[in-house]
Amino acid sequence: MENKYTSKTFILEILAILVGLLFLVPFYYVISNSLKPFAEILTNTSALPKVFQFENYVNAFEKLNYLKVFSNSLIVTVASNVVLVVFCSMAAYMLVRTKKKISNIIFMMFVSSMIIPFQSIMIPLIKTAGTFGLLNSIWGLVIMYLGFGSGMTIFLYHGFIKGIPKELEEAAIIDGCSRFGVFWRIVFPLLKPITVTIVILNSLWIWNDFLLPSLVLQNPEMRTVPLATFFFFGQYTKQWDLALAALILGIIPLLIFFFSMQRHIIKGITSGSIK
């Protein structure tokens, strides 16, 4: 019965498409109005633009300093992912392979840190980060993402590495490979599936994060996309023509990321949540 396309299924299909359109309505409003001149936004909010004009985008692009903020976000996201993957996979591997009490204690510490909400430590964090010279620096921010992301990243790697048989590594060690070499040449390539999941989950989180960069980065030159959008909205309140174009500019990188990795993202979220 499920394999036949009945009239009941057809009605369901129509219903589903309507719900889908309802989900898209906000996007329609933002995109269509971002292409209108200011006066037309006020008078004709729901209609399609009379003439498609990209002037708002040119203006918003310049005023946002878009290339700069985009590359800031890109640098922060890529660098944070690199340090998270490198250091957390190494740590998780060692914690799995060293059968000692200390490994368990350290692992439990990382895992239990996952329940700490950011807001409950942000106040002292700013003081500690100041002491260590991590404030107002992109690299300081990257180190903070390493700290905040380490709990989940180590947890996911730990679970995955437990399922990898030890024999391969032992053979390599007998062949004279160092532990360091064994990890990078033999174990790390095997971690690829979970690494993809981890990179996707961390990228979405870091790219969209607003609160941490807003507390850490004071220099306008260092602003990331969410941060720049926030200040832009504050500065151009009610100037919807510029504000909407800026919003779309902020969303486009996410959509490109999504459509190029859609399958991995869905898989990553499913496996990441079940853990």
């Binding site: 589903a16 060692m94 510490m109 996952m114 942000m122 106040i123 990890f183 990321f257 499913t270």
Partner: protein, 320 residues
Amino acid sequence: MNSQTKAEKLQGGALQKNTNVSKPVSMASKRKWKDAGLFTLFVGPVLLAFTIIMLIPFFTGIYYAFTDWNGVTGNINWVGFDNFKYLFTEDKQFQASFLLTAKYTVVAIILTNVIGFALAILVTQMLKTRNILRTVFFMPNLIGGLLLGFIWQFIFVKGFASIGQITGIPLFEMAWLGDANTAFWGIVIVSVWQGAGYIMIIYIAALQNVPQEIVEAARIDGASRWQILRHITVPLVAPAVTICLFLTTASSFKIFDANLSLTNGGPFKSTEMLALNIYTEAFVNNRYGIGEAKALIFFLVVAAITVIQVMYTKKKEVES
């Protein structure tokens, strides 16, 4: 000279002998040191970052919750439980934020899960458009809460007004963000719009694990679609329901970005949720001590939710 070399030889021999005897011991301790070194090399870097970014702030934060620290001067005095006393007896805004966050969490959990589950059922039917629909429902989830809040600010301010003008439906003619009650529902709409697609993905995975033979057997026995859903599908995806309930509980309770960008707590602080309240207390009012006391309570609530979740899921796993 001759005797000297002899002595050296003798000594050398003795040394040789000595090392021979102690070889197993020194090798073992050498290996131990090498292992400890490797352990430090592998675990050390992330542990160091973790200590600076999470451990130290977490423990110093507990201390600050009992002080009158204002974040500006270095003058920090121990005040005991005064901050907590203040929160529970005098700080009406904190109490209101706490209750509002609890109310919001309950509403958001129910709506996100019901709609997410309904969407999952919808897109696991034999629809021609099911793949594109999955993408559509999931898309809002990619965008961070801050941008979503701004998108919906435009919808509520300009979009709704325009729809109201065209259709004449009073619901759209109201100033949604100008009234405490509708602004609250505005935040709910944004978070459900964002969260339902995420929850849907998890429910889809669970629904696909429901064995088709059982469903088929029930159908042959004459069960209706609703009966199958109620008595077979729902019980079989119950573990996923638990996961989703707790996921939405934790994320709803921690809402900040959309709250900030959509209403900024307004009108008149009537939609200021807990996380935003902590933020304002610390970074706008500069009362770090009181802010940290709130943060500690916030942590305890989130931790309690999570611990109950883990215990519950583990128990379920044992049962099944």
